[in-house]
Every structure is written in C-alpha cells, then in structure tokens.
Amino acid sequence: MQIAVASGKGGTGKTTIATSLALSLAKLAKVRYFDCDVEAPNGHIFLKPVFDQISPAVILIPQIQPEKCTACGHCVEVCQFHALAKVGKTILVFPQLCHGCGSCTWNCPENAIIEVPNPIGTLERGMARENIAFLRGQLTISEPMATPIIRQLKKMEQPSEEFVDIFDAPPGASCSVVETLQGVDFALLVTEPTPFGLHDLKQMIGIVRDMNIPAGLVINRDGIGDDSLEELIQEEKLPILLRVPFNRLLAEKLAAGQSLVDVMPEYREVLVKLYQEIREIVGGSDK
C-alpha cells in the first residue's frame, strides 16, 4: 500500500500527519517513510532516524570528448533545454540546465559524448523510531532541480505488498508533487480551513483527478477558520478522514519536535482507523 501525504499550501501539517501515521502503523505493519520534500525535509525531526547509507543523487550530464568531437553542433540542436552551446570548435555544457535525458549522447554522430554523474544532492537511508525504515533525499543548496532526486528516492525501494509506504510530499502543486504522487494508491490531502488552504487544495484536487488517484482529507487546525472548505468538499465528494482541532499547546510541542502521537497518544488509534478507511477506499488486499 502506497500513500502520499500532500497539501498544496505549505505549513498545513503534512509532515506532522505523515510521520504520525507512520508511527501509528509501525506496530501493525512494516512501514517505510519517504521524505520527498527534498528542498526542505523535516521528517527526521519527528522520526529521529539513524542513517546508515548515504549516496549522492546524480544527474548524468554530457561530457564532450574533444578528440572525437567535430563540433558539428548536432547535440546543441537536439537539446530541448539549451544545456549545450557551440562556440567556435568547442561545445559548452551548462549542467544546471541539463535534465539528464541522454538525448545528446545517443544522437552524437561521432559518439563523442560520454555521460558523467553530476551530483545534485544526497539520498539517505536509515532506521527510525519503532523500526520504521526512513528514506530521504536532499537537494544541494543552489541546485534547481528537485524532481530527479524524488524520482531516485522512490526507486530506492521496490513497491511491495509487505510494506506500507508513506510518501511525505513537498508543498505546492507543481512537478515535484506530481513526481511524489506517481504510482501511489491513495493521496491523503492535509489542509487547513482557511481561504489559502481552500485555494491551494483546489490545485491538489486538480492533480489527483488528472492522475486518477483516490484522495481523502485531513483538516488540520480545525476551528481557526471558516467553513468555506466544506462547500468544496461537498462538491468534490472528498471523504474527510480526520479533523485535528487547533490546539496551541500541541503547536508548541510540534514546534519542539514532538510527534502528534507523543503529545496526544489517543491519535494512534485514530490514525490506525484512518488507515483502515483508506484501505477500504482503495479496495486493496492484505495488511
């Protein structure tokens, strides 16, 4: 079972919910938590992993072999991202524009291009509290592209019926969120009952509809806002799987790095029930 936790608006509580869900399920299932917010990952604060494997996340970028290159410029023509330029008899490579697609390499008539790894971040694996397998990616500061790291992060493990995989998505509604959601069975959308939450939730709903992924809602900080959300939820027929009322004391504890289920252990059972509801919706087998 693969569940993504996403939101649209930042700061609604994705990581709070994702990590708490992981902790709640840890006794009943083998849980793997993937921190896919590779630009600003926070899962480690709540799950406290010990990492035993760290490797660079790389994009394969072209390296022109000058002895073979005839400066025909075909690679420049083929590149859709302008990551190559021909200057006199030299081909320049612009690594930060490169998507690592390999097209230039395959298309070089002289076989003058080899691909070399360009590190853009790290991939880490470890064990966290309660035997939860913890995986995350981190984008190196100043590197622009998060999506390749998310793709590689997810590939670190094979999907398996033995595991419950929880993918903690980045905020927003662009391609890194789509990459996180690729192939998951269910999207748990965490929102807050405010106009900002509502607006950004609409973006997320657009994504899960396009991708044909069943979704359900968690309304976090319930009580701080109005009920403009309720109308949208009715229209979209999205199940509300959980409401977490706003609680200033809870907010303080979360700020300090304590998990929701540490501060309010009654949520463990609540989240187990939420998981069971998800399973019913997905109509999946086992676990």
């Binding site: 608006k9 609604t12 630009e39 926070n42 998060a146 905020p171 927003g172 106009p195 700020a255």
Partner: protein, 312 residues
Amino acid sequence: MKTQVPKAKQLIILSGKGGTGKTSISAAFAHLSATDQRPVQTVIVDADVDAANLGLVLKPELGPANDFWGSSLAVINPDLCINCLACSPVCRYDAIFPDPQIADVQWIDPIACDGCAACVYACPVNAISMVKQQEGNWFHSKTAFGPLFHAELFPGKENSGKLVTLIRQQARLFAEDTRANLIIIDGPPGIGCPVISACAGTDFGLIITEPSLAGLHDMKRVLGTLRHFHIPSVICINKADIYPEGARAIREFAKAENIELLGEIPYDENLPRSMINGLPITVSFPDSPAALAVRDLWQKVLRSLDVEEDLA
C-alpha cells in the same frame, strides 16, 4: 544626455518552510507602502505561482489572462507508429507505454513526459512530434495598494521557475515605465528552481521563519541559497512566542552567523482572522500586536533598502 533613472529596489520574501507567514506579511507591506506616513511607489509580485495566495488578501481587479507556454511534450501519431519500440528504451522517464486504447501503437503519458525529445530522434518513421503546452496564465492586475503581477500555474505542471522569471520581468519593466521605487516579491517555499528564479538579482532578502525545529532547519537552507546568490538578507521570526526555546535558537543562530534579526512578530489570532476576512492585518486589525510588529518591520526594511520615498 538623459538623466539616469534609478532602478526600483527588489525585495524578496522567503522562508524555506511553508506556512510561516510570507503572504500575510507581503500583503501588509503592500498596504503600508501605499498608506504609510511616507508612502513608497511599489510593484507587488506573487512568485508562489502554483499556490498563489496573495490575491486572496489583496483582492485585485484582475487584468486579462496571458497564456504561459512552458515546455513541449512528445506526442505519438498513432497513424504513423509502426510499434517498432525504438522509442521506449531511450525514455528515461518511464513515459512510453502501449496505447491503452489503440492496438499495436505506443503512447506517451503527458504527466510523465519530460519533454526531452529523445524519442523524437529515435523514431525511424517520424511518428513523434513535440507539441508546445500551455502551462498556466499570468496577470497584471490592480489592487488598492498598487499593481500586482501574479500567475496561476495549471496543477502539476513544470516550469514554475520560468513562470516566476516571466512575471518578475514584467514587473520590472512596469516599474521602469512607471518609475516605481520598490518591487516586493512574495516568494515560494523551498530552495529549488522557483525560489532561485524568485531571488535572482534581487537586492535584499527577508526571511520569515517560525520558531520550530522544522522552521529553523529550513531557514538555514534558504539562507544558504540567498548567500549563494550574494543577496544580503535579514530574518524575522513570526509566531515568535509559540515556542520560546525555538525563538532563542534562532536568535543565537543569527548572532553566530552575523545575520540581523530585523523583527519578531508575536503569535496573534488576528492574523488568520484577517486572512479569512481577505484583508491585510494592518487594515483589519491595525492596533493588534502583529500589525504593530509588521509596521515596525516595514520601517526597518525600508531603511535597510534605502528606498526612495514618493515625494508626491
């Protein structure tokens, strides 16, 4: 010789972590720029293009929608495809499948397609072409406090960085034409491409953080990004009293790193309330603790930026 026109200063507001209050503060700054004792002619940019919320508080009179054309995607013509499968091995994005509806041809998943065109070149019968995609819209709108440049990226699309660059350019051109003194850019969360596009070439960075472990962690990353691009920056702690130890940690960090802590805004229920009312806090609750702190922050930002005030 024509006299030199001073360029508008550009302020970028970032956070790293989402939800720290960038948009609420940007909205208040927009209001103050127009109504404060010494007003400053300002152009506002909402650079959080896939979750654009500033318009919800500034209530713009929407300008016409301008198409945003992003990258191209590969499309297979089923009439030409001979199912030779030369294309799928070159696709690194797992985007090519047997067509679910037409037998014996391949199909490209538009969501997975990266637009690299490797398949186009691999196809021996020219059955694949690149089709440009509209990925969103951008707008030049009017608000009560000045012009707003904003955009809506269609859900799930790429190229948010390119769209951010586009609206920033439009804002800069408009600022030049109207002799505005300041451009305020409400930035997106994170540190990747859209953030880089939002902060490139700006004059001053204001990091809005919150006193949580997560906030501190992400603030350090976005600060690293601003420093990489040599943008002088300062910090402001929002919801400062929600976790006093967290605030202390930020103060110590700021001291150790020689970064100015320009202000602290207490947790104030009036902030979410004003957001729900669809107004900047300085409009709806001008005497609230948060509004007063934001007002103070604004004055300090102006001083740091050394912005020319409107002489009108």
